[in-house]
Amino acid sequence: MVDFTLWDILRNLLLAARWTITLSIVAFVGGGLVGLALLFARLRGHAVGDRLIAAYVQVFQGTPLLMQLFLAYFGLALLGMPTTPWIAAALALTLYTSAYLTEIWRGCVASIPKGQWEAADSLAMSFSEKLRHVVLPQALKISVPPTVGFLVQVVKGTALASVIGFIELTKAATMITNATFRPFTVYGMVALLYFCLCFPISWWSHRLERKLHAGR
């Protein structure tokens, strides 16, 4: 059998953490962009578009991420579309994140009193001007804590990508534990690494919140 030193375990976990970070960034950026586009489409207020996006949100909120990843990788292949784990993970994580973010942000925009829209109307602002100058700056402040809370969830959710062959932090830990039979050491380190990834995000969100409110 192989003998892992503590350093071997930590070194391999750190290497695997690169995947966790990369997948998280893909989810943040892809999901953020798509989520924002969906938000604008929804604010436009077309009845059909609105209903389609609501259905989209329900589908991705109502099914487990594990299943979405599985279907994106194996399901598309069954339909004759060859996918690489990369494409499947990027696709599934982007769709999943965008569905949650667009719903979170819609709620933030909806919490802005109607009077603000009407006041902007009375100044003859166009739709994009209303969003840019009146509604979004106010909604942004409200959106920071729920958005960051969700992003921290996504970081931990990337562990599910191991089902389509990504050797990220959690999967690497499983593999090492199976070779070392020291689950408590390995999973203890993994918990610590996840904390080191998630804590700075939460901390930064607190700072951002204070900064945004200082301007009031």
């Binding site: 059998m1 194996f74 339909l79 499983t174 090492i176 199976n178 039979f181």
Partner: protein, 260 residues
């Protein structure tokens, strides 16, 4: 995972039955000079990782052996017991060499070659607990890996009142048992052997045999050309003693009589 797989399996069959790829895998492999083989990384000594995270073990040696005999490069894909059949059905792997036992349920969705290595599942536990027959299991808690052969066998023989706790992979099963969350553990002999060697103070021992189930290589349904070719390699390997050498190296005993 398992309900999902059941959901997907008919869909997979429908697509495969369309015949778009039937019989083509061996030709593809020979043309590309690469064979993609799914292997385990969570099942020592069949498949596990070294300090460089590179997979090694009996299944990995078997995979490279087949690649060598075909005269092509072997590309290894790490899989788990939950997704290994999906890899085969969606052509993301040409062969699955991943301690795959043969059962009628699996035979409906994939094909098998002849056996390549021995394997058996059993119940293990500390010496302080007496378990001689399945009836002794009543009132005891047992850790087992969900969907594995030992899960099905255990479910069959366990009397009412047995508390079966299912975990997603072998590693979680062993961890639960070692942490004292269950009194007994049902698993493959090799996993238990390793666990006992690593934790001598735990004083665990073999209790009841669940099933003698040698390992087979999985091939996508209908890929008879590839299956026949791999069978030829295995039969020749058995005759020349190569398979025995592999078993001796990783399991400490020769392959013995394997079903054809």
């Amino acid at each position: 995972m398992k309900p999902l797989f059941r959901l997907l399996a008919p869909l997979a069959l429908a697509v495969l039955a369309s015949g778009a790829h039937a019989q083509a895998v061996l030709d593809d492999v020979m043309a590309k000079k690469v064979i993609v083989i799914a292997i385990p990384t969570d099942f020592p000594p069949y498949g596990f990782v070294g300090t460089d995270m590179a997979p090694k073990g009996l299944d990995i040696d078997m995979a490279t052996y087949i690649g060598d005999k075909l005269g092509v490069k072997t590309e290894l894909v790490p899989v788990t017991s939950a997704n290994r059949i999906a890899y085969l059905q969606t052509k993301k792997a040409d062969l699955v060499i991943s301690t795959l036992g043969k059962n009628p349920e699996r035979e409906k969705v994939i094909d098998f070659t002849v056996a390549y290595s021995p394997f058996f599942q059993a119940i293990f536990g500390p010496k302080t607990i007496t378990v001689k027959t399945p009836a002794d299991l009543a009132g005891k808690s047992i850790a087992v890996t969900r969907g594995a052969i030992e899960d099905q066998e255990l479910t069959k023989i366990a009397p009412p009142g047995t508390e079966i706790k299912r975990f997603e992979d072998n590693n979680a099963t062993v961890s639960a048992f070692l942490a004292g969350q269950t009194q007994l553990m049902a698993t493959g002999a090799s996993v238990a052997g390793n666990m006992m060697a690593r934790n001598p103070n735990f004083d665990a021992e073999y209790k009841i045999l669940l099933k003698d189930s040698p390992n087979f290589i999985g091939v996508a349904k209908g890929e008879d050309k590839l299956r026949t070719k791999v069978n030829d390699i295995l039969v020749a390997g058995k005759k020349s003693g190569d398979l025995d050498k592999l078993s001796q190296k990783w399991l400490g005993r020769p392959a013995g009589d394997l079903p054809q």
